[in-house]
């Protein structure tokens, strides 16, 4: 008997959606001691399946057909009280965002204790001992029972989330993208912890993810979802190495490899951007507190030549976005130089700055927020040229050419951002940045918010534009796979400093700095060669 048996699961979407059913006729099983990865892009219905099993579907989504059996017990027929009893005790869930999944005003120990109190009649002393044991099991010090979520790091919070899920030794653990919000080194630790706990307790684990790197790292079996339908289920090696379905093949091919692409070095090209000892210090002043300084970026010296891409890689808080903003002069650098075509942007006054702003343009991370929802995309693209005195008719014809360049229909210029998908919006943002004919394009995590197949398209587009327009590009990313594919040079940032800087191929082959080595070692699925299937 499988721990979890999903048969012909069908969940209806409210009318007016892009399809009639969120999930249609999905069947799979998870055995005891098995880790099944449910993979799919956004909107594929993977989270709906997880919520359907837990009985957490919102009212707008109705389970219309199929059966869900947990250890042989039919869940779709169970009473609300019975399902509530099963939740937490026989099946438990860990969530994507560890900050919001925990109650901010309850200590972590109290939140673990709450599960024990709700489901067992253990006396307080035993509950306390069990809480301490659970914290030990997720490799947290027992003293952290008294800590509140905001006092913990993201990784520690996710460990508390896991401890809560494990409190009653569930037969089935559902993990919904549990490492997506975490840094790569933390992610590696949490993945290791989940696999280890699964082995120790012999649980069945349903691991929902969009990341094939993670899949390659931990899965035993893989189920691939597309638009609510199951495309392929099978053992890890079979699915990754011999995918049967065209969609699976496309997904696996879209995952960038960690092997840097061969690039012709062009040392003779003119320097477009040169920073020298660029620093940004944030000062926090309080009336009653001591002055506190945060070095977001310190002594950053780097160089980008025409037609070259420099990648800045680092984890969250490493200062890579601060650096990008200083270079685009969206924030004022504290010290140092930012030379673009011989002009030091860092020293310019507001008025002088306006004239040179057009030379540096940015593409932002979140395609949903980087376009004004109340302006048509045409207005967005011509905004820059209009600011610099280009006549409207000429700006519009330029916008049409740019739409063709980013592979969008020029007739769509009159539409509004919400009528486009995330990938299309990111293309629009690229077109907007190019409308000013910049010398340097600063791309701040331009593909992090995109699905892997869309990500591959946008990366290819950026690459094509860079070669066609001979642009210099500063590419900020946390993803080593992406960096390996698009960057000629890499600068690794940690705590505001560049710890290693050099050609991408050398950095991947012989990382010198321990932090670079740690980053490379933590990249999920590094032993699996993607993009070859």
């Amino acid at each position: 008997m499988s721990t979890l048996e999903v048969a012909n699961l069908t969940v209806r979407l409210p009318p007016g959606g892009d399809r009639a059913q969120a999930v249609s006729g999905v069947s799979f099983g998870v055995e005891r001691g098995e880790l099944l990865c449910l993979v799919g892009e956004s909107g594929s219905g993977k989270t709906v399946i997880a919520h359907a099993i837990m009985g957490l579907l919102p009212k707008t989504l109705a389970l219309t057909a199929g059966s869900l059996r947990l250890e042989g017990e039919e869940l779709t027929q169970a009473s609300a009280a019975r399902r509530r009893r099963l939740r937490g005790s026989r099946m438990a869930m860990i969530f994507q965002e560890p900050m919001t999944a925990l109650n901010p005003v309850m200590s972590c120990g109290a939140q673990i204790d709450e599960v024990l109190r709700a489901h067992t009649r253990l006396p307080q002393a035993e509950r306390r001992a069990r809480t301490a044991a659970l914290l030990g099991e997720v490799a947290l010090a027992a003293e952290l029972a008294g800590a509140y979520p905001h006092q913990l790091s993201g990784g520690q919070r996710q460990r508390v989330g896991i401890a809560i899920a494990l409190a009653l030794e569930p037969a089935l653990l559902i993990a919904d993208e549990p490492t997506t919000a975490l840094d790569v080194t933390t992610q590696a630790q949490i993945l290791r912890l989940i696999v280890e706990l699964q082995r120790r307790h012999g649980m069945a684990v349903l691991f929902v993810t969009h990341d094939f790197g993670v899949v390659a790292e931990i899965a035993q079996r893989i189920a691939v979802l597309r638009d609510g339908r199951l495309v392929e289920v099978g053992a890890k090696r079979d699915v990754l190495e011999r995918p049967q379905h065209e969609y699976t093949r496309m997904l696996i091919r879209a995952v960038p490899t960690l092997k840097p692409r061969e690039r012709a070095a062009r040392a003779e090209a003119p320097v477009v951007l040169a920073t020298r000892a660029l620093s940004k210090t944030y000062v926090e002043r309080g009336w009653l507190r001591a002055r506190r300084e945060v070095q977001a970026a310190s002594d950053v010296t780097l160089e980008v030549r025409k037609g070259q891409t420099l990648g800045i890689v680092g984890e969250s808080g490493s200062g890579k976005t601060t650096l990008a903003r200083c270079i685009a002069r969206l924030i004022e650098p504290t010290r140092g130089e930012v030379r673009v075509g011989g002009v030091d942007l860092a020293r310019l006054k507001r008025r002088e700055l306006r004239a040179v702003r057009r030379r540096v343009q940015m593409v932002f991370q979140d395609p949903y927020r980087s376009l004004n929802p109340r302006r048509s995309v045409g207005e967005a693209i011509i905004e820059g040229p209009l600011n610099y005195g280009v006549p409207r008719s000429e700006a519009l014809s330029r916008a049409r050419r740019l739409m063709e360049l980013v592979r969008l229909d020029p007739a769509a210029l009159g539409r509004y951002p919400h009528q486009f998908s995330g990938g299309q919006r990111q293309r629009i943002c690229i077109a907007r940045a190019l409308a000013l004919e910049p010398e340097l394009l600063v791309a701040d995590e331009p593909v992090s918010a995109l699905d892997v197949s869309v990500q591959a398209q946008v990366l290819a587009l950026l690459e094509e534009i860079r070669t066609r327009l001979d642009l210099a590009m500063l590419f900020i990313t946390h993803d080593l796979r992406v960096a390996a594919q698009v960057c000629d040079q890499l600068a690794v940032m940690q705590a505001g400093r560049i710890v290693e800087y050099g050609p991408t191929a050398r950095l991947f082959a012989e990382p010198q700095h321990p932090y670079t080595q740690a980053l490379l070692a933590a990249a999920p699925g590094r032993n699996f060669a993607f993009a070859t299937a």
Binding site: P58, R354, R357, M362, R369, R374, G384
Partner: protein, 295 residues
């Protein structure tokens, strides 16, 4: 999609009905609200009495809501009073919104102006609205314009605070940063990118101000510091009816009923707009639904 909300439908319908009543007042069996006749004093609702017209002619008239101690028709006065209340509510709300938006945009986007402007606003907020209003009316002659100004001033800080808070969040949006890097001048960013995205919450706030302005106007009139007593407003009618409330409650009841219905309708409209226009609230409601189901 706003019209799907029942609060919006009911509140909106009630307001439209009231506005139509106000506009059509002369054709709805009313007489000049200032006319009086000593023979028709203190009539009960529905009783028939006489009214002396301006040319001295006396005609018979049915007093649907009774008459006051001067023999004036309460029905006519309440209907004409609707005009005053709506005019005051709408104009005061628009004036407070316009000034509050301007101050809020400046405070939110221009850092050095923030401290100065907000301390002035804090100063205004430290004085009770009704006291400011009484002071303003006392300073100038009591007229429609004065009352509107008196009501609008205490509302400005509230709008300013709201707009400032909205601007502070919206200015961090990547599309505003994108506009900065596209070389868009500050003024254009404020008017073209930030202001349009504050409209929805402002619309909601505007309805609440409108409701409060209508109430405040009635309060000022009732206290005798609002519009002059010869202008029929709900507050004035109630103020005059107050002394004989025990014997003739209809003098207070009908204007009070209109006032209550109007304020309720405006607030319902505001609540409905907030529910449909605020995406954060919609999200919260969706997840509350999940919790309801499993509680």
């Amino acid at each position: 999609m706003v019209w799907r909300n029942w609060s919006v439908r009911i509140g909106g319908a009630a307001l439209i009905a009231l506005v139509l009543l106000a506009i059509a007042a002369p054709w709805l069996g009313t007489v000049d609200p200032t006319l009086f006749d000593a023979a028709s004093r203190d009539l009960r609702p529905g009783e028939v009495g006489s009214v002396t017209m301006l040319d001295g002619e006396t005609v018979a008239h049915r007093f649907l809501m009774g008459s006051d101690s001067y023999g004036r028709d309460i029905y006519s006065r309440v209907l004409y009073g609707t005009r005053v209340s709506f005019a005051v509510g709408l104009v005061a709300a628009l004036a407070a919104l316009a000034l509050g938006i301007a101050a809020g945009l400046v405070a939110g986007y221009i850092r050095w102006a923030d401290g100065l402007l907000m301390r002035v606003m804090d100063g205004i907020m430290a004085i009770p609205a009704i006291l400011i209003a009484i002071a303003v009316v006392a300073l100038w002659r009591a007229s429609l314009a004065t009352v509107i100004v008196a009501i609008a001033i205490p509302e400005i800080p509230r709008v300013t605070r709201l707009v400032r808070a909205l601007v502070l969040t919206i200015r961090e949006e990547p599309y505003v940063e994108a506009a900065v890097s596209l070389g868009t001048p500050t003024m254009k960013i404020m008017l073209g990118h930030i202001l349009p995205n504050t409209v929805a919450p402002l619309l909601v706030q505007g309805t609440y101000i409108c409701a409060f302005a209508i109430l405040l106007e009635a309060i000022l009139s009732f206290l005798g510091v609002g519009l002059p007593p010869d202008i029929p407003t709900w507050g004035n009618i109630m103020a005059e009816g107050r002394v004989q409330f025990v014997a003739y409650p209809h003098n207070v009841f009908f204007p009070g009923l209109f006032l209550a219905v109007t304020v309720l309708a405006v607030n319902m409209l505001g609540d409905g707009l907030r529910d449909t226009l605020d995406p954060k609230l919609a999200e919260a409601r969706a997840s509350a639904q999940v919790l309801d189901e499993h509680a």
